[in-house]
Amino acid sequence: MADPFEVRMRFTNQLRQLNASVTSAQKAAQYALKYRDMAEDLHSCILEQLERSNMNTRANIMYFIEHFLDLANKDGHGDYVRMMQRDIIRVVDAVAPDDGSGAANVKVVRKVLHALHNKSFLEAQAVSQIEEVLKERDASAQDITMSSPPASGDDHARSSMPPSRTLPPYNATTSSSKRGHAPAKLDRKQVEQRIEEDRERHKRQRENIWAVSAADDAELEKLWEETSDLGEDDHRMGEEEWAEWKAEVEARRCAHLREGEGTGR
């Protein structure tokens, strides 16, 4: 029996070190499954890290949850799934807080919730409710700056808002400054890290796009869907092939004619 404290420490570390790779998520998930007798403890560990770490890690943990519940369900450990269902609101609040600081994570949350719903870890009702809340937060975040055309007095606006101006860090955002300000920004390094991680995830995601489900006419349906109406391109292609074919025939006919002449035809 491992020391509960040590298990907790190690799991926390693994959560902190999550990145875009599937292996890191799998490793952490397997660890949690191994010490499933401390499920409650480890679940609180996840919530704790969600609320403490930076936005990138929160996003990574969010993706991890999808993976984790998948594995837990497979292994028949209903505890983890049940606890996550219970606390999902709290998780969403942590990953995409309504102060706007988690705007960049809203899309992550949506994606994961959608996936969880597809895997029937979450009920449709819960998902749609959360979705409503997210929409609100998204909209409020979009009100700011970039999303609206510059005011008529651009130069004026600019001078009143010098480029050097930075917004307060997200965790220092007060309720009074919540609206009307851009959400707290991740620092530059974090942004770049996030970009790379998103690309990595995108890459992994694309690794399976070629797969066709085993259903009977799945491949046919897919091809049918992807086939466009007859158009200019098809005509061009037809003409090119026709020209090629004619050239080929021409080239071959010569030999035949020669033969024919040879035989006195």
Partner: protein, 743 residues
């Protein structure tokens, strides 16, 4: 005596074969040993050619033979002659001796070296005749060398030769001596045969042409044997040759004994060979071809004897030439008219190119200067070399496919690029000529263009005129339109990837990031494409469902560079800074202009904290014409859906109505040199160096004046500017990785 036969025989086959077949291969191959040699000399070519070459050679050889038919004719005569050896040979010899000395000196040495081809052919023909006379020997030689290949082909000649071969083969060494007697007799007969042969000879002999040929021939190394014979023979040669051939066989012993001294003096190898009698060494030495020696030695003992003999006579000139000469004159008059045809053949031979030594030494079909001299570009994909096709003399660009660090074998990106390029054929798309594997490296072979846009725009003195710029722009969009019509996204449009020929023709290059895209439904692609300065805002904001509009943005950036010589968004290489650069010119985007803005994956991540106005107009309106500005503004829309397609761009008033009309930049021919990004980078580095030195001096001066603070600040800013102007290095790994994920 056999030596002569060997020479001629050796030469002839070579010449014939070579001429018809592959020029390079022929040379080397001949020298080395035709049969075995083919593979070695020009390995790459040889592969296929060798197989062919023998045939071609033989075929041509045949042709020659028919032309030369005299040989065939001769040879039979020889056989006949053989019976009457004594008279013929002697007469030949005598004549030969007297004549030969004078001829020999001039003809042989000079002629041989220069025009192996022509000399060879004519010489060959002549020799052939002569050989034929010697017939057995030559035939044997040829046959031995060629036998494997030629046996089939040479039906006509082969018979005689075969017979000769058979005899020769059986007792090569003895043959020479024994044959010599026969040969002498044959020689006499051969004289008779001359007439039949004369036709051939006459043709060859067409006196004027032949001499010319001989003259031509001199450059060729081989000629020595032929040269002397051919030159003198040309007119005389036929008779001489015929005589010589028979002589060779029969005379060998005599000649060898008589002339041994002479040949020995001229050609030490013959002496050595003398014991061996076949003297393969003599010929080789005389000919210059060390390669030939081995062949001869290896290939045919018979040849060896004949060749040396021939070599000897030539140097000595006593027997062979004299004999030949005598007969020839008589013959020539007879069949002068027919000769012309033969002459034509000779001309073909002449046409064969002689490779300059540096090209001949090239191990590759595409000659590259050693070291880094031939590098015309380099990047994460590897290096691009400038190569010269040693055969066609055409320039090519060799893109070496980087295999280092490829764990999964041949890089799939390269396969994709090749597949894509093979489907493209347009005047504004660089043409992939072939893919070559050489020395364990894989190269993509492209047509070579002297400049790229970066190099051209950074040219220290040359400036494009407005009409030229329009023409370049037009070609750029015609190329893009072609790509997009065919469902290809280039995804790496930038000035350095746009090549310009020295006639002002523009071609899009580097399809390492290109891919086919689905025109009628939106698929998901990686957003890590396009060199970052040329990357469109939607890609910077993480869009993965994009289309040809990304290329239009890049092309617009290039267009600005064509107009102003400066990149419009020279960022520091990070996405954040790149977006800032764009915002600084075009202002910050908003939902009204770009409804999908907030749907961009990284919009929340990268949104600016403040608004910026669009200052594009202030900055660029004065630098370009009205229509050009309008065009640029439309291509720089934030919303990709609002950007015009390449086809629409081509219909813009800038191209259709605004003056001046586009004009091809043919003046590029005159600027000399080659201007690629590589050169301009080097130039820039040079400049920076100088500037730094200036700074140092200034700093020193300033220090003296105790103005340290001011100068430091100044130097700092200038160096920063310099850094900014540098092209972004497509960060090796990052870009490389990017190539993999999207297939």
């Amino acid at each position: 005596m056999a030596a002569r036969g060997g020479y001629r025989g050796g030469f002839n086959p070579q010449a014939q074969q070579q001429q018809p077949g592959y020029p390079k291969g022929q040379y080397d191959a001949r020298g080395y040993g035709q049969a075995s040699g083919h593979g070695t000399p020009v390995s790459s070519f040889h592969g296929s050619p060798t197989a062919q070459s023998p045939y071609g050679g033989s075929g041509r050889g045949w042709n020659n033979q028919p032309q030369f038919s005299p040989q065939g004719q001769f040879s039979p005569p020889y056989a006949q002659n053989n019976y009457g050896p004594p008279t013929g040979p002697q007469g030949h010899y005598h004549g030969g001796q007297a004549h030969s000395p004078p001829y020999a000196p001039t003809g042989p040495s000079s002629q041989y070296p220069t025009g192996p081809y022509r000399g060879g052919h004519r010489g060959g023909s002549f020799r052939g005749h002569q050989f034929n006379g010697r017939g057995g020997l030559r035939g044997g030689f040829k046959s031995t060398q060629w036998n494997p290949q030629g046996s089939n082909g040479r039906t006509g000649a082969s018979e005689d030769s075969d017979l000769a071969h058979a005899t020769a083969h059986q007792s090569p060494g003895s043959h020479v001596e024994t044959a010599s007697e026969k040969g002498d007799t044959a020689m006499t007969d051969s004289d008779n045969p001359f007439r039949p042969s004369k036709e051939l000879q006459v043709e060859d002999s067409s006196k004027d042409e032949q001499p010319k040929d001989d003259k031509m021939a001199p450059p060729a190394p081989r000629p020595p044997p032929t040269g002397p014979q051919s030159t003198t023979p040309n007119k005389f040669s036929f008779s001489m040759k015929n005589a010589a051939k028979p002589v060779v066989a029969a005379p060998r012993p005599e000649i060898s004994s008589k002339f041994n001294a002479a040949p020995a003096s001229r050609e030490p190898p013959t002496k050595n060979a003398a014991p061996a009698s076949r003297e393969p060494p003599t010929k080789p030495a005389a000919q210059k071809a060390p390669p030939t020696r081995p062949e001869r030695d290896r290939g045919i003992p018979r040849n060896a004897p004949t060749e040396p003999a021939s070599a000897r006579p030539r140097p000595g000139v006593p027997t062979g030439p004299s004999d030949r000469r005598q007969p020839e004159p008589s013959r020539q008059p007879d069949a002068a008219p027919r000769t012309r045809k033969v002459k034509k053949v000779v001309k073909r031979l002449k046409e064969k190119p002689v490779l300059p030594s540096d090209l001949a030494a090239s191990k590759s079909v595409f000659f590259r200067k050693p070291g880094n001299e031939s590098v015309v570009g380099s990047g994460t994909y590897g290096k691009v070399f400038k190569g010269l096709n040693v055969y066609t003399k055409k320039l090519v660009a060799l893109k070496k496919i980087r295999m280092e660090g490829e764990r999964d074998g041949f890089p799939v990106t390269a396969v994709r690029e090749i597949k894509l390029l093979r489907s493209l054929s347009h005047k504004n798309i660089v043409q992939l000529q072939e893919v070559m594997v050489e020395a364990n490296d894989c190269f993509m072979v492209f047509e070579y263009l002297s400049h790229d846009l970066t190099g051209l725009l950074n040219h220290p003195t040359y400036t494009l005129e407005p009409g030229h710029k329009k023409h370049l722009a037009q070609q750029l969009f015609e190329g893009l339109d072609y790509l997009h019509t065919r469902g290809v996204l280039h995804r790496d449009i930038k000035a350095a990837n746009i090549l310009v020929s020295n006639e002002g023709i523009l071609k899009l290059a580097d399809f390492g990031l290109a891919r086919f895209y689905a025109k009628h439904h939106q698929l998901d692609y990686t957003n890590r494409v396009i060199t970052i300065w040329y990357r469109s805002p939607e890609l910077l904001l993480g869009e993965t469902q994009y289309g040809p509009a990304v290329d239009i943005w890049s092309a617009a950036c290039v267009l600005v560079e064509i107009f102003t010589k400066r990149a419009i968004f020279p960022g520091d290489g990070s996405e954040i800074n790149q977006l800032e650069k764009i915002h600084a010119v075009l202002g910050t985007p908003n939902r009204k202009d770009w409804p999908n803005l907030v749907e961009m994956p990284w919009f929340a991540l990268l949104r600016p904290d403040y608004r910026k106005p669009n200052v594009f107009e202030e900055k660029y309106k004065d630098q370009v014409t009205t229509a050009a500005f309008d065009l640029l503004a439309s291509m720089f829309y934030y919303d990709p859906d609002k950007r015009p397609t390449a086809a629409e761009v081509l219909q813009h008033p800038y191209f259709t109505t605004e003056e001046p009309p586009s004009r091809q930049a043919i003046e590029l021919k005159d600027i000399g040199g080659e201007w690629h990004e590589l050169e301009s980078k080097a130039l820039r580095r040079e400049k920076e160096k100088k500037e730094k030195e200036k700074e140092k001096e200034r700093a020193r001066a300033a220090q003296v004046g105790s103005k340290e603070d001011g100068t430091e600040g100044g130097s700092g800013s200038t160096s920063r500017d310099n850094r900014e102007r540098k092209r972004p290095n497509e960060g090796g790994d990052a870009r490389r990785e990017a190539k993999r994920p999207h297939i």
